[in-house]
């Protein structure tokens, strides 16, 4: 029977996609907010706020200094404007930089102390039952047989991490998976060594701001020659109004290790835009491999383009060791504005970087996203598969850099960049940058743009599918290569998201 299910599941769209469209017609599924008493720092950002955030997290002096230095740099920087994005100027002083549920004032010693409302929030987000029980601190939950594959979850609510599951089991394997605030206190040597080593404090406007004010995030360390026994996952949720979420993720895969990491994001539906500026750093040593998958479903704004998340994210993986490997997979369906280029520094000889992306924009959404493949070492390989889907009045830009440095002899890149348009008021743009500074490397770039075809639509409808089912099916087919790169659990969710995010794009 497993064979049967597998066969069908791999084919593309499942009936769940179709059900999701039906049951959620017209609504952003995660648009509710949780009424929890919050504690805020005053609006705006200045050295005092930076100090306050550091103090609230009970950080050592070196961390506070690090943040203050970042803040000093940020003050001198200007917001970049090169992306193909149009949004009203952001008043960075009109945001809350720190918000946390009051019940978290004292970090819970055990998960029993976590506010039940928080846990209810995660339940609504569809975090698997077993993890919910663990998050809720149900006794013996850890020892219960897991349904299907195990996924350890770290949940970040507004500014703080509220709990991480499967700690004990991970510890047995020597894996460290905790919130970054905990890591700063418990594993300062690792944090000091690696934080800012991939995305330097001075990297870019948003990353520098993040370095100053990040409040929490996840930390992962996989020891040498260890295969992480389960998928690791972080759920980010912005709940409070006018709050920026600045999370920081640091993943270290030591020699010969392997980890698959999943990241999911949601936010409530609001009229006002909200800011999200995250930094993810991944360090991959010799022969190690990291898979990083994201399903980003922040609130995209309403049909008139009101509200939504402004998503400015810096994600970078540094393949330091020889034969190290990283694979970024992203499904970007949410956010009003997306500015995001998960990148690979291919430093080690024979290291490999892969980037698989689906970016869907509907209504007034705008996405400027892509990747950077920086080939530094010899015999390095990279592969980029980008699928952009635009509907409504949305604009979707692929921006990618492939750079072959002089020492990156015999390196290869293959880029495939496909855009699909639904309707005649949206746009798709492809902006590839290619630099080759040696004569033994090869770079290939293929790009296509197509429209959802009337004939395909009629064919599907003649067979009994309604318009939204038909579009979901066709788009899932278009994006299949990327969906297949996702872990199975995420692939299902992603297929549903594809269907949901394109609602109202036809007819």
């Amino acid at each position: 029977m497993a064979g049967v299910d597998e066969l069908i599941a791999k084919e593309g769209v499942e009936e769940e996609t179709v059900e999701a469209v039906k049951s959620l017609a017209g609504a952003y599924k995660y648009g509710w907010e949780t009424e929890i008493e919050m504690e805020y720092a005053p609006k705006g950002v200045n050295p005092d706020i930076v100090r306050l955030i550091s103090e609230k997290n009970d950080e050592p002096e070196w961390m506070t200094e690090w943040r203050l230095e970042a803040f000093a740099r940020w003050e001198k920087l200007e917001e970049p404007s090169w992306a193909l994005l149009n949004y009203p100027e952001i008043d960075f002083q009109d945001q809350y930089y720190y918000a946390r549920p009051k019940s978290m004032e004292e970090k819970p010693k055990s998960l029993d102390e976590v506010d039940p409302k928080l846990l209810a929030t995660y339940e609504k987000l569809g975090i698997p039952l077993k993890e919910q029980m663990i998050l809720a601190g149900v006794e013996g939950a850890e020892d219960m047989p897991a349904e299907g594959r195990k996924v350890a979850v770290d949940a970040v609510f507004d500014s703080v991490s509220v709990g991480t599951t499967f700690q004990a089991e991970l510890k047995k394997a020597g894996v460290i998976f905790c919130s970054i605030s905990e890591a700063i206190k418990e594993h300062p040597e690792l944090v000091k060594k690696y934080l800012g080593s991939v995305v330097p404090v001075s990297d870019n406007y948003y990353a520098t701001l993040n370095s100053a004010v990040f409040s929490d995030g996840s930390f992962v360390y996989i020891p040498p020659n260890t295969r992480c026994p389960m998928e690791l996952s972080t759920y980010f949720r912005i709940n409070a109004e006018n709050t920026g979420q600045f999370e920081r993720t640091l993943i270290i895969a030591d020699k010969g290790s392997y980890v698959s990491y999943l990241e999911g994001c949601t936010a409530p539906q609001r009229d006002t835009a909200q800011l999200h500026a995250a930094v993810v750093e991944i360090i991959i040593e010799e022969d190690a491999e990291v898979k990083y998958s994201t399903v980003q479903n922040w609130f995209p704004g309403d049909e008139e383009g009101k509200g939504g998340i402004y998503n400015f994210v810096t994600k970078r993986a540094d393949c330091r060791g020889d034969r190290s490997k990283v694979m970024w997979t992203q499904v970007e369906t949410g956010s009003a504005v997306t500015w995001k280029y998960p990148s690979c520094i291919l430093r080690g000889a024979e290291s490999q970087g892969e980037f698989y992306s689906i970016a869907i924009t509907n209504n007034y959404q705008q996405a400027d996203t892509g990747t950077k493949m920086v080939h530094l070492g010899r015999d390095t390989k990279s592969r980029i598969v980008s699928k952009g889907i635009s509907a409504g009045k949305a604009q979707n830009t692929y921006r990618g850099l492939v750079s072959m440095h002089p020492k990156a002899k015999n390196s290869r890149n293959y880029t495939q960049c496909d855009s699909l348009l639904i309707g005649d008021k949206c746009g798709a743009h492809t902006v590839p940058y290619i630099e080759v500074k040696n004569n033994s490397s090869r770079v290939e770039h293929e790009a296509t743009t197509s429209k959802v075809d009337e004939e395909q639509m009629f064919y599907c409808r003649q067979r009994g599918m309604d318009e939204e089912e038909a579009v979901a099916l066709i788009v899932n087919g278009f994006a299949k290569e990327v969906l297949q790169a996702l872990p199975m659990e995420f692939a299902m969710e992603a297929q549903q998201l594809v269907a949901i995010s394109l609602e109202g794009s036809v007819g």
């Binding site: 075809d453 064919y459 599918m465 099916l473 066709i474 087919g477 299949k480």
Partner: protein, 252 residues
């Protein structure tokens, strides 16, 4: 089963009349063929009945078991039991044939208020039907019609028909692009589906398909109307003498 009454149709975008008063009745369990020269309106009739965009009905109506077809969305017509085997089946890249079939089967079941078919039942069902049409497992996994040969595409249409179990099947020039062997295979597939409760409207240029799928009634269509109806012998007459004689006879 299918009743078409004085159907007049023009192109939506331009002032071009294509159907000029089609009257046709296909009773349950019967196979009717429509033959006619190019541009007589045969394919348009199939598109209008199945609800494709681009046509405007200016007069007349069409019913399926008493239900007014022309008011329905294409998917509602499908759920009501109308199936069109396309002359040029469309390619859908990335969508597995099996996924497509399953989505279609379950969409129709849902529309009719029936329970969806489980993965296991579906797989058994599709494999059995595919075997009859000599469609191998590989073809079920490949993306819908992508890279299919002409014969494979048409067999795939008949497979869909077999899976969806419609009441009224319209075959739009299913024989075009088929060699003799493929035509035989497709015809066998169609014949296996002949049933008291199922009717067929077979649109074709040539008599040869009707050697394999024996019609009860043959209609000749010309200039947007059905100009002559008769038994299977009418097809032979066309085959031997062409359309000219019949058309001349009508003009006279």
């Amino acid at each position: 089963m299918l009743k078409i009454n004085n159907l007049h149709v023009k192109l939506e975008e331009e002032d071009k009349r294509i159907l000029k008063g089609v009257d046709l009745e296909v009773p349950a369990g019967k196979v009717h063929a429509i033959m006619g020269p190019n541009g007589s309106g045969k394919s348009t009739l199939s598109y209008v009945l199945s609800g494709r965009d681009g046509y405007e009905v200016t007069e007349g109506d069409a019913t399926l078991d008493g239900e007014e077809l022309l008011d329905m969305e294409p998917e509602e017509r499908a759920a009501a039991g109308l199936f069109l085997a396309f002359q040029y089946p469309v390619e859908i890249p990335g969508v597995g044939n099996m996924t497509f079939l399953r989505t279609a089967v379950n969409a129709q079941r849902k529309a009719r208020g029936e329970e969806e078919m489980s993965a296991a039942d579906f797989l058994k069902f599709v494999r059995a039907k595919a075997k009859d049409l000599k469609i191998d497992a590989d073809m079920l996994k490949r993306p819908v019609n992508v890279g299919f040969s002409g014969g494979e595409k048409k067999r795939n249409e008949i497979l869909q028909m077999a899976m969806l179990e419609p009441k009224m099947c319209i075959l739009d020039e299913t024989d075009s692009g088929l060699d003799v062997d493929a035509m035989k295979l497709v015809s066998e597939g169609v014949n296996a589906l002949r049933d008291e409760g199922r009717s067929f409207l077979v649109i074709t240029h040539y008599q040869r398909l009707l050697d394999h799928i024996k019609p009860d009634v043959v209609h000749i269509m010309a200039a947007g109307r059905i100009v002559k109806s008769g038994g299977p012998e009418l097809a032979l007459e066309v085959e031997n003498n062409g359309y000219a004689d019949i058309l001349a006879e009508i003009d006279a």
